[in-house]
Symmetry: none
DNA sequence: TATCTATTGGTCAGTTAAAGTCAAAGTCAG
DNA sequence: CTGACTTTGACTTTAACTGACCAATAGATA
């Protein structure tokens, strides 16, 4: 197994064990424990704990220095949560389409998910629902499906 | 016997031995064992383990690199179609769960899709539907969502 | 306060260890 | 003999790893 994988694993373990999703290490000590050269830690951090991958890395040099890795709550979830909350108890067909399109466009959901959501509230399905209940069901379905993707 | 046939045979053997229908090799090592040049492995993979033939090949370069060959269920669409047709106009909650689980277990749908399907017919949603209509709606939703994945 | 020093972490260029590509040469059935 | 399939190896690309050197910080000392 690669050293970089072991380092990654250990950092993830620390993050999982932390209530705050924060892992704080000392570079030299950590490298020593894992049996690698200190700069290897930097390599792993820059290749696998980037902001794009949802992590923030802070550090401090000098005596008592440290490296702190934080797993950030991608604001994807909060964005999704916001949308879910903005949907009331009713949702008409046109608005539902807009909601799905917006989520897709902002990369909050995958295109696969968008397709599935569309089919779940498709006309074929909705024909089975009494007209006066359709907006209610649509709202419930969309909200629940968005919730599943948080 | 051709080297390419031997290579093919060995990969198939690994696939058969694997529970997951996955074979993971290291190109240089594998080539060395079979007594051929490394690029010969690539030739075999591109000529006999193509997606059309029901295989997915993934790889990684660099230290600790690998090549992973996965045998995929080829008749996914027909299997899905079969399941859709087997669902009548009514589908109770328990059976729906079984349908989703079976599809997931047989890799006919992704776990993401399974989650979305479950949430689309979740209790929270179904509460909004008159009891006498629930099995109808469930059947329509599940069928339509499976159809979206063909 | 200003400066020195020990103790950290950061950077980067270079090395090693893989896999990918492609064109040329070889083989073989028809 | 010809065209399709095989085989080969030189060259390319990518990822992992290393070590020498640089930069920042805290604490001690003048």
């Amino acid at each position: 197994m690669r050293i970089s994988d072991i380092i990654t694993e250990q950092i993830l373990k620390l993050l999982d064990e932390s209530e705050e999703s924060k892992a704080e290490i000392q570079r030299n000590e950590f490298a020593n424990i894992l049996g690698c050269v200190p700069s290897q830690i930097n390599y792993v951090l820059t290749s696998r704990f980037t902001p794009e991958q949802g992590y923030i890395v802070e550090s401090r040099r000098g005596g008592g220095g440290y490296i702190r890795i934080t797993r950030v709550q991608m604001n994807r979830s909060s964005a999704l949560m916001h949308i879910i909350n903005s949907i009331g108890d009713l949702l008409d067909q046109a608005t539902a389409r807009v909601v799905i399109d917006n989520c897709l466009h902002n990369s909050l959901i995958s295109s696969e998910a968008a397709k599935l959501m569309s089919s779940a509230i498709s006309i074929v399905v909705m024909r089975q629902v009494p007209i006066n209940l359709r907006d209610t069901i649509r709202a419930a379905v969309i909200k629940q499906m968005l919730l599943a993707q948080i």
